[in-house]
Assembly symmetry: C2
Homo-oligomer: 495 residues x 2
């Protein structure tokens, strides 16, 4: 067998171990009884170790080198390059550091859960100190291997090619108008009486049925996926069998529904990945920014727009037996585009969300560099919240303890949320220009015009193009913050 074919077979095995891990992770979150947790943790750790061992084995590096040396067409070169990239990142970090980081993160995550519940940041600091130290070691090792600054090497793990310099430039631009725009939007909405709340309760089975109806309208194929319940919504499974989860609140169906629509965007991306590149890095999703662009183009751009809410509202009214003016399309649109200042990132509206991200981007750089000592994090957090979002947390529970990411060792992840939001706005504007009938489709519950365009312009590329190249080819220009601004001004200032 040729080196390239042997390489494909090796990566196929690695991918299938990953698919098994993904399904077991879904199972643990959605259906596993509690008592299975310990055994499941061992299963997951062992399958991951086996995949890692296959990846970092010297034979993998040799096969990559042989396949490169054999020379070939540009497509194959790209596929091999992505395998080299995967191998290089995996081999850059010594095994004992991987293990130390994993142990530190597990301990810190547990400590964080208790610390957050009690709002007691000091309690997590000893564990967090260890995570931060090991993350610095990891960033240094990765940076050296990839010839990147340490922090960039971490970001690159979430969205390949994205740099701190990209982030800083974009985030400075965003900061130049978002805080004002947030205030203007709040003032603008205050000119009218607040939207009327929808009176529940909304029984969970009915919410689940309605969510499935909406998913089907979006193009989710239930022969190749499921919707279930978990404490933390996610999109998992495999491209052939996408498992999304949500949680329901009997007093509010809109939050659960929009969560489902968000995860459906992720799911449609996974389903649209190139089948002929399955089980190799080139056939996987590009990074987390691109992934988030696909969830946000569905949730934020399409589903919170007037076209979709106009179609969805009467169907929701029928599904839940709603009556009265609160169920009008206009009122429901106002409910899903309501803006306020809040402390919690995951509850933030799309104007405020990037401000939460900018805060985290700056703080995580300062933590990694040592400019911000760990004990000073709460103070810096609270100052930053005042500067960026305009409110101050009462305590650390709703402040620097709110997100799991850092305590779990995920540094460099946060920026991808906002790059995803910006890409979503730009892709949606381009799709509208390019596809006749896209808006009429949304207004009729028909997402196929939008999905067709996303399929060929984003999904079908898999990981073969960098995020900014996908964007350039799809929209004719590099990332343009003004398209995001225009979207927000249209939606929130009626401009």
């Amino acid at each position: 067998m040729q080196a390239y074919d042997r390489l494909l077979e090796r990566f196929r095995r690695i991918a299938i171990l990953g698919e098994a891990t993904g399904m077991l992770h879904w199972d643990a979150a959605a259906v596993m009884p509690d008592g299975g947790g310990e055994a499941r943790a061992e299963q997951l750790a062992t399958l991951r170790e086996m995949a890692h061992a296959l990846l970092v084995a010297p034979e993998t590096g040799d096969l990559v080198a042989d396949a490169e040396a054999a020379g070939s067409d540009p497509d194959r070169r790209c596929r091999i390059a992505l395998m080299r990239r995967r191998w290089r990142r995996a081999t850059a970090v010594p095994g004992d550091l991987v293990a130390a980081l994993s142990r530190a993160a597990s301990r810190c995550e547990a400590a964080w859960r208790a610390a957050r519940a009690g709002g007691d940041y000091a309690a997590v600091v000893p564990f967090f100190t260890e995570v931060l130290a090991r993350t610095r070691d990891e960033a240094a090792a990765l940076g050296q291997a990839l010839d990147l600054p340490p922090y960039d090497a971490l970001i690159d793990g979430y969205e390949p090619g994205l740099t701190a310099q990209d982030c800083a430039a974009v985030f400075d631009r965003l900061q130049s108008f978002l805080p004002d725009l947030l205030g203007q939007a709040i003032d603008h909405q205050a000119l009218a009486p607040p939207p009327m709340p929808l009176a529940g309760p909304f029984p969970v089975p009915r919410q689940a049925d309605f969510a499935r109806t909406m998913m089907a309208a979006l193009g989710f194929d239930f022969r190749h996926g499921r919707l279930d319940v978990s404490a933390h919504p996610f999109c998992g499974g495999t491209p052939d069998d996408v498992r999304i989860t949500t949680r329901y609140d009997e007093g509010d169906f809109l939050t659960g529904l929009l969560g489902v629509l968000h995860e459906t965007g992720h799911a449609l991306y996974e389903r649209g990945l190139p089948r002929d590149l399955r089980h190799q890095p080139a056939g996987e999703a590009r990074g987390m920014a691109v992934h988030e662009s696909q969830s946000l183009i569905i949730e934020m751009q399409a589903c919170r727009g007037r076209e979709f809410t106009g179609w969805m509202a009467p169907r929701a009214r029928a599904a839940f037996g709603g009556t009265g003016p609160a169920w009008s399309s206009e009122n429901i649109h106002r409910l899903v585009t309501r803006v306020s200042r809040g402390l919690i990132r995951v509850d933030a509206n799309e104007i405020a969300y990037p401000l939460h991200i900018i805060l985290r981007f700056r703080l995580e750089q300062a933590l990694l560099s040592g400019d911000l000592p760990l004990p000073d994090l709460p103070g810096a957090w609270n100052e930053g919240m005042v500067e960026l979002v305009g409110i101050r947390p009462d305590g650390d529970r709703d402040g620097c303890l709110q997100d799991i990411h850092w305590y779990d060792g995920a540094f460099g992840y946060f920026p991808t949320y906002t790059f995803g939001a910006l890409m979503a706005a730009q892709l949606f504007a381009a799709a509208r220009d390019a596809v006749p009938g896209l808006g009429q489709g949304l207004a009729a519950g028909d997402f196929s015009p939008l999905l067709g365009w996303l399929g060929s312009h984003v999904h079908a590329h898999g990981a073969t193009l960098p995020w900014n190249e996908i964007l350039c080819r799809a929209t004719g220009r590099p990332l343009d913050v003004d398209l995001f601004r225009r979207h927000l001004e249209q939606r929130y200032l009626d401009r």
Copy 2:
């Protein structure tokens, strides 16, 4: 690391690949959307290949030899011997034969589904010929490696140590009284009017709730397992997270319930396996005969007895809102012990069941040896049914096409069902003698006396003792067919 510890680690990985395979199999049967099937088949095949490759690697054999040479206590020797056994069986069959058998079985299984639907045995013969030829090759290879006659080598894969000679002796004894006893039982039951049917419909959610209540009474721990629905009921998952499945018929809750109780018996065995031997062959269930003894001691011995049905009947009446004399404990007991002559093994009562097995035992030997040419199977089947069960199939659908086993390459499996039934009767009699209050427990829905005894006398041994040694130690004597006979005479002839 010592050879023994490295061996344990190797088998731990093999076992965890097996656990992942088990969970993915459960998922495919219970929750997976249809479109995931192709990808799932590839996942399962790849994980099985990886486990097989780990097992048959020369290092495994070297480590076993080194661990044996290091010498140690009897317990460890037993554990190593079970690893050698696993390795020997796996290495006995050349890889290309394993692949050929797997391919032939997959093709034949598909052909069998169509052939059975149409009752067209001739259509499956070409595929079955290939399966049989490859199974003969497999039996020859295994027999040579294990120093066993070929058919014994196949039986040994399902219940280690069980031989064709054991089976022939026991089955001859059974044939000496079972056909008569079946007739007597039918005549005896005909002295009274038939039991009154229970009027449905029985909604599936209520059946599932009731089944869970009964499972809990039996000692099934829902923190470590689940009950779900699948086309073919089975017990899967892992000892820490046992997944059993059933199917429901809205017109008849008893069949589904007894299926659940049967699988619960399997599940309790898995849960009771020795935790300190987890992830090595010694900690696994003994063979299929022992496994079946644990499902049948629950379903047949305990749950179809008057003590349990007396407790269950009023609870079923309450659960389903039943009224009238059909819901009396006596009538329900008569329903679950009703005897007749039937063509289908899986529907057979406990008197007739061994007769179905004896037929298959004799025919599979004749097929393997070549004494029975494949085209002659239907005739031989129908003759055997007349001789043993006293009825003749109308066609092959309800005759030699009814079971998947042979067409899927499973020869040597059938005898374990009946050895399980005999063991169950003997173990139940011994438990009754040994445990005061066992019967009163069952009459009060309390299975803990029975379970406590089974736990220490059967479950806790894992695979460290052969089936007949487990039986001898638990009951004080080798397999005794008379105990099964006595059980049947008591239950069906009121002796």
